[in-house]
Amino acid sequence: MNRKNLIVGVIFVLLLLVPFIADVTSNSFITNMATRFVIYALAAVSLDLVLGYGAMISFGHAAFFGIGGYVVAIIGFHMDAGDAIFGWAGSHSALIIWPLAMVLAAVVGLIMGFLSLRTSGVQFIMITLAFAQMLYFVLVGLVLYGGDDGLSVTARNVMPWIDLEDPTVFYYVCFALMAIWVWVCRRIVQSPFGMVLRGFKQNERRNINLGYAPMRYKLTAFVISAAGTGLAGALWANYALYASPDMAAWLKSGDFMAMIVLGGMGSIYGPILGAAVYLGLEQTLTAWTENWMLFLGPILILVVLYAKRGLFGWLAGSKNYD
């Protein structure tokens, strides 16, 4: 067992123990906070797949987060009103709605990725950003669904035999989904497909000359990543019981990126730590000063300039860093 596996083990055991810690200290806030960590970690891990392995600097992942959230909120809205959605009677079941959120995010990811991947470098960053912003404005314009104010969700989705309304149970469901997704992403990056993807990051021209068409691989990774972020959005709408255009705002994409960099890019595990650190920093600094960005900004700059491997890279050591 090397240092990296040890660190990963400690992270997961700690996350598993959160409700017990909350129980012992009788502080239910801890479970709430950890639910937020886990949901954001799911989104950040998905983004790491394209950012850390595919070298696609997507500044538009908030769009998928927003789509996931709005799928939950809009279906709930129509169910409450008692009318059909395009002839479909609707459902409260998480087993239908959450996959639907993933599929929808993946479809939008396919379109967005197909258009954006025609370019690279600076243009790719700006185009993904612009697409996310477009979706943001579309959501703001949906007056029927609350426009600028967003849409509240009256009840969480339901699962057979599992009571999602219970905070602890909901936490474990989110945690399990995050853990499964991390496992899936690890499998992807270690598969031949993942190797090709990493090849594009190292040297695109060499990879093309080896006979790999970039579009196919990059687009597949982009779509998978979009689906994961969509799931995170659906979970968030269930957690906060609220979906608003802010979920798709471009600064949200910036949050995800900041989490990846704080945690350690290109490791899949790093962003889990990054999400916890970022949200934890936000929590402590806002309690202290209203202008918490005054500290976060410089921290981000310093990490980028001097600590590229992030917290996970520092903990796991350079030898074991993936």
């Binding site: 258009l115 370019t119 243009q123 960053i125 612009a130 477009m134 404005f137 990126m257 900041a258 700059i301």
Partner: protein, 304 residues
């Protein structure tokens, strides 16, 4: 007819604002190959400096000076402290570090100037309106804005195609390594270009202050539109930025005025509101998507 002329003029005014912001940014992208998310922050700093100067002295000339100097100086500091360490890094580092600068600037401006700066009135020199067509009056302030845009465009043209610095800038956009190998101090050129971009932002900030709301986050709103301008026009070319500004500014303004009217004819009223307000905001992104499908490198790209 009057409506069309008036909207076209508004479009030109918006284009002028976009050009002031994108001319510097496209050079920073093109020459230094740096993605700068903090560019909108200089615009905000300029507008806040102008608002403070107007409140203190009441003179719009002083406000222009304060905005240009304030934004230019802040740009210089940011370049020295952060950007200059990023030149040989990858784009992701640029994005994150400048995001840090943006967040920091928002908090800093809030702390120094407060959340709501004093209102900037239209200076007496530019107040009122003049007839531009028989029976159609147009505000002088907006005309002055368009005039400022034209002046800056001419100035940039002169600077870039007629001076030695401009020659280096063009050469730098083409191949900065060769320029460096020829013995030019490229770092100093980079610093100059960055400060010039920040200065133009400051100027845009003071001109926009009497017309738009001066607030925290005003830079982010317009920054994304500036990106669209640059992508449409082609990264690194000032001519591209001019063309992009005109296309985006006029598309957006005309869309805002006419899409709701067209939609109300096409769709039943319960849908037309939602559809048109979404379509209005999305129009420039649709424009961008079309341009990219036809020309992935933008309309007038600088590099070959």
């Amino acid at each position: 007819m009057y409506m069309l002329v008036e909207q076209a003029m508004n479009g030109l005014q918006y284009s002028a604002l976009l050009f002031l912001l994108s001319a510097g940014l496209t050079l920073i992208f093109g020459i230094m190959n740096v993605v700068n998310l903090a560019h909108g922050s200089f615009y905000m700093v300029g507008a806040f400096c102008a608002a403070m100067a107007v409140a203190a002295t009441g003179s719009f000339t002083v406000a222009i000076l304060a905005a240009v100097v304030g934004a230019g100086l802040y740009g210089l500091i940011v370049e020295r402290l952060v950007i200059s360490r990023l030149y040989h890094r990858e784009h992701l580092d640029h994005v994150l570090a400048t995001l840090g600068v943006l967040l920091f600037t928002n908090a800093l401006v809030t702390m120094v100037f407060g959340r709501s700066p004093p209102f900037v009135a239209i200076p007496p020199m530019f107040s009122g309106s003049v007839p531009i067509l028989p029976g159609l009056n147009y505000p002088i302030m907006r005309l002055a804005f368009i005039g400022a845009g034209v002046l800056v465009a001419l100035g940039m043209w002169f600077l870039i195609s007629k001076t030695k610095v401009g020659m280096l800038v063009r050469a730098g956009a083409d191949d900065s390594e060769t320029v460096e190998a020829l013995g030019v101090n490229i770092r100093r050129l980079f610093m100059l270009v960055f400060a010039l971009g920040a200065l133009l932002c400051g100027f845009a900030g003071v001109m926009a202050a009497p017309l738009l709301a001066v607030e925290i986050g005003m830079g982010e709103k317009v920054l994304i539109t500036t990106f669209v301008v640059i992508v449409v026009g082609g990264v690194g070319s000032v001519r591209g930025a001019l063309l992009g500004s005109l296309l985006v500014g006029i598309t957006d303004t005309i869309g805002r005025a006419y899409i709701p009217i067209w939609m109300s004819h096409l769709l039943p009223p319960q849908y037309s509101d939602s559809v048109s307000s979404s379509l209005v905001s999305a129009s420039i992104y649709i424009l961008m998507a079309i341009v990219l499908l036809v020309k992935p490198r933008g309309l007038i790209p600088a590099q070959r």
